[in-house]
Subunit: 224 residues, 2 copies
């Protein structure tokens, strides 16, 4: 069974790549260079994809800095730092990128249909850091309907399925799953800050570090 895997190079997407392999899929990865602050993540995505033995890895290039609207695509918007997990979960954060998952899923859909894949895997999760609107189950369900109605495959009765195995897992549970699956955490990248060493203080680093700490495991990444 062919599958397209949305692979950013972080904990979640790396885990779903290994999950897709375990599910018996022939994995085709897709990553995006959208001029994100943390383009460094692409190196990790490529290394994780190679390690996992993906059949093909597409990197799609476009520029979301054309209109910005997020701390990840506009250097004039400061990246939040040293926030507690409580603070992170209260509002939709400034790191929200307008329509990002919709854009990512759209390209994944096009790629999946072009290679006649049956599934698209996405590593969204709605529990931790649940501020992002495009990480929630009702949104994924709405996109599934678009997958069904917006494609030839779907209209012919063979819609491509969105598979989101992490949607109801906590970050600690994702790490536990990844450990079972043998995800190479040392190759992954979560930091938003844009440096070559993880900052340890952006929301993404703090969420990652807190989850490893709660499990009493060591995160193999180096932090500034």
């Amino acid at each position: 069974m062919k599958a397209v895997i949305l692979l950013s190079g972080g904990l979640d997407s790396s885990t779903i790549l290994y999950k897709a392999k375990t599910d018996g899929c022939e994995c085709h990865a897709i990553s995006f260079d959208y001029q994100q602050r943390h383009r460094r993540e692409l190196q990790s995505a490529l290394l994780v994809g190679e390690k996992a033995g993906v059949i093909k890895h597409q990197v799609v290039n476009f520029d979301l800095r054309q209109w910005g609207g997020s701390a990840l695509t506009d250097d004039a918007i400061d990246l939040p730092q040293e926030r507690s997990l409580d603070e992170m979960s209260q509002n939709i954060p400034v790191t929200y990128v307008p329509a990002r998952n919709t854009i990512f899923l759209s390209f994944a859909l096009g790629y999946a249909e072009a290679i006649a894949a049956e599934r698209v895997y996405i590593g969204v999760n709605a529990l931790d850091y649940s501020g992002y609107p495009d990480c929630r189950p009702d949104y994924i369900q709405a996109m599934q309907e678009v997958f069904r109605l917006g494609t030839k495959q779907g209209r012919e009765g063979q819609p491509i399925s969105i598979v989101a195995p992490l949607i109801n897992l906590k970050k600690t549970e994702i790490i536990q799953l990844g450990n079972q699956l043998g995800v190479p955490w040392e190759l992954t990248w979560s930091c938003y800050a844009g440096g070559n060493i993880a900052c340890g203080v952006c929301d993404s680093c703090r969420l990652r570090l807190a989850a490893f700490a709660e499990l009493e495991l060591k995160d193999p990444l180096h932090y500034a």
Copy 2:
């Protein structure tokens, strides 16, 4: 009221741009260079946008030839020629580009949210040439739900609306509407073939020519 207009440079999208103006919108255009066979259409999109006085015109670049899957993005797939309107309407044609409107609407959604627009205009129509799955009302309705659930604006009760004024019009009715609105047909471009003069024999040229002929109007474009 701010609106984002999906503008390819053809009859339909040029008409909705003028429709949005008449609706009182402050128009922001968005066009796509996806390495389509008929990239020539972008020149027309820019000219039509300029003529209509858009506030800003974004051209987003990406490459759908990375995976092809359409006669418009893969030179190895021949463009259908000299087909009758009946032949065109029977199946989903090879000019269908997997997930194209989903990709276009996703970028338009991101742009609209970044500039706090209220509407996205799209020139789909389901009557003539209705083979494309992502031009039908049920698909647009599904995307509307994605617009509502996948954005901050939507979650905060201010979803961006998809406006598709042509969805139930025939091509002849679109031309009549465009004539009322003063659309500069001489600046538009419909041909798929990739030349600098419209071929007159691809599906898109034939549909356009047939509609002008049915109305006993002259299409101002030159044909090979």
